[in-house]
Amino acid sequence: MNHSPSAVQSGTGTVLRRIGLGGITGSPVAFAIALGIMALLLAVPATHNDYFQIVFRNILMYAAMAYGWNVIGGYTGYVSFGQVAFFGLGGYCSAVLSANGVDNLFADVALACVVNMAFAIVIGIPVLRLKGHYFAIATLGIALAITDIVANLDALGGSSGLAVHHVDEAHFYIYYYAMWLVALGSMLGTYAIARSKLGYAFVAIRENEDAAAVLGIGQTRYKVTAWAISGMMAGAAGAVFAPANGFLDPSIAFSVDSNVFPIVMAILGGVGSVAGPFIGSLILTGTNELLQRYFISIHTLFFGAMIVLVVLLLPRGLVWLFGLKGGARAWLKALTAYKA
């Protein structure tokens, strides 16, 4: 995808739309649908069904994490396999605050954002110099290493974990609304970033890093910014999840599921779009929940098969289908584009 000269003349958004990617924010129809569903989800606590609340809270949680991944992996093109590190750190911020007698979701989220921003800057400056496979595996290494380190820190409860104070069952909906706000914030934040100069800088780095540098887009600064933003989204989700769950240990905070689900969701929905991560989370978390309820032993099998099918059949995601010109033939042609 080397469209840099025309990108300079007519704007990246226009070019992306012309080549069928639906502009810098993705299809506006898909975005409107996503916003509509988001509004409907406000009504879930009114059902007074705890199970529904947990399922939909998980959908919102994974959506926020998928938005976080989308900023660095989708818009900036740096495929991170370590976003769970941010989620876990956010969770541990709440756990530590709770252990020190602070029981306030706003404080939790604020601390998680600050800690994750600092972590993203410190880790990001050396790691974001790596590209492609090296960056991907280094971030995977970060996720594994931080799990090891937390499991060995007595102050964080080691491998046996920490209890996190949470409210009584009657007020459980507080966590639901908090998670809803985090997801909505991530979605609108992504929209605002994508439409701003920052978003165009991210896409410029994704499409051609050298050309971006020539245009004066200082790479390190923008890449670290993208990573910090993505870390704050995942961290905020973690900060709400920990008190809602009431308990946190390294295997919950840094689980493989939380690491990979958001990536698959962003891809299923549409990488580098504003509606994609939420739609992806809605579909995948929903199906996964149903399978876990009725066919517990094969739900990982299903998930593996799902990944294989999504990668082979929907490489650019569902949102991309909204902007696809040429129908089934164009779709089939796109599938063989990378055949050896």
């Binding site: 992996g73 495929v79 396999f81 050396p126 790691v127 790596l130 492609g132 496979h133 090296y134 991907a136 595996i137 280094a138 995977l140 290494g141 970060i142 594994l144 290493a145 799990t147 090891d148 380190i149 499991a151 060995n152 820190l153 007595d154 102050a155 990979v260 990536i263 698959v264 891809i267 990488v271 032993s297 094969i298 990982t300 099998l301 998930f303 593996g304 098969a305 799902m306 990944i307 294989v308 999504v310 990668v311 082979l312 490489p315 599938l335 063989t336 584009a337 990378y338 055949k339 050896a340």
Partner: protein
């Protein structure tokens, strides 16, 4: 001193297996530019195949080495031909995720077939060791190392002396020029992927001799394979061997770290993944081409 010598020997013995693990991983990465996240699952399948042959037919694990190789070669060949080939030249995210999905599938199938219980292979020679100069060496691990060295040497000869081997190296150097010279690249890709899976199967057999078997047993080896490839330099047989041995030694010493700061006790044995990451980052910053690697574009 005695302890240092023992750690050194342990490191070298562990490094032999890592070299075979990394060899297959390095082939796919270097030639196809794919990070194969299913490599750990292939190792696991090789190990369970060995276990099953030993349990059902009392086949000695060393004798099942060729069987593991052939079975996993066929599986790898088919997976490449019918799945990965569709996205072989796609951006890294695609192949990364596809192989991750495959890994999930294979691990879950193993969980259904063999359950999640820890299993092990106990032969007559398990646990038998000899002591030389005060250093204890288990026979199994010594034989494992020798087999690993033999396989590495065989791979090197095969890649440099045979027609297919040369076609593989040509594809990794310049795919366009190789195609112009009549190399059928999809065929070569399938052979390379099959070979890589076969080597993973062999590694699995060797690992089954000294480690416990679980469906997720391959995961720790995956990240180590990556570090070994980076350490030794990508796409060369001797790189995988040297990287494997060096990493084995580093890990053997690092897991001996044991000290206490205040009330916080720090022990290296719980920090294996952190050690791997630290080694990886140091190598990437100090010598990105690896120990024997050449500069690449």
């Amino acid at each position: 001193m005695q302890l240092l010598a023992q750690d050194l020997v342990n490191g070298i013995l562990a490094g032999g297996i890592l070299a075979v693990v990394a060899l297959g991983f390095s082939l796919v990465w270097g030639i196809m530019n794919i990070i194969n996240l299913a490599h750990g699952a292939f190792i696991m399948l090789g190990a369970y195949l060995t276990y099953q042959l030993f349990q059902s037919f009392h086949v000695d694990p060393f004798l099942s080495l060729p069987l593991s190789f052939v079975a996993l070669f066929v599986l790898g060949y088919l997976i490449q031909r019918f799945l990965i080939n569709w996205v072989a030249r796609a951006p890294i995210l695609t192949t990364f995720l596809l192989t991750f999905g495959l890994s999930l599938l294979l691990v879950n199938i193993a969980e259904i077939v063999w359950t999640g219980d820890r299993r092990g292979i106990t032969t007559v020679y398990t646990g038998v060791s000899f002591t030389a100069l005060g250093v204890t060496v288990p026979w199994v691990k010594l034989w494992t190392l020798l087999v690993a060295l033999a396989i590495t040497a065989a791979m090197q000869i095969w890649l440099t002396r045979t027609k297919t081997g040369r076609a593989i190296r040509a594809t990794s150097m310049d795919i366009g020029a190789a195609q112009l010279s009549g190399v059928r690249t999809p065929q070569i890709y399938a052979i390379v992927y099959g070979l890589s899976a076969g080597l993973a199967g062999v590694a699995g057999t060797l690992i089954a001799l000294s480690y416990a078997l679980t469906p997720t047993m391959g995961d720790p080896f995956l990240i180590k394979a990556f570090v070994v490839c980076v350490l030794g330099g990508l796409g060369s047989v001797e790189g995988a061997l040297i990287g494997g041995l060096v990493y084995g030694i580093v890990e053997a010493f690092a897991t001996q770290i044991d000290f206490t700061i205040g009330t916080q006790h720090i022990s290296g044995s719980g920090l294996q993944d952190a050690i791997a990451l630290i080694v990886l980052l140091i190598v990437l910053i100090v010598r990105p081409t690896g120990i024997v690697g050449k500069a690449t574009a």
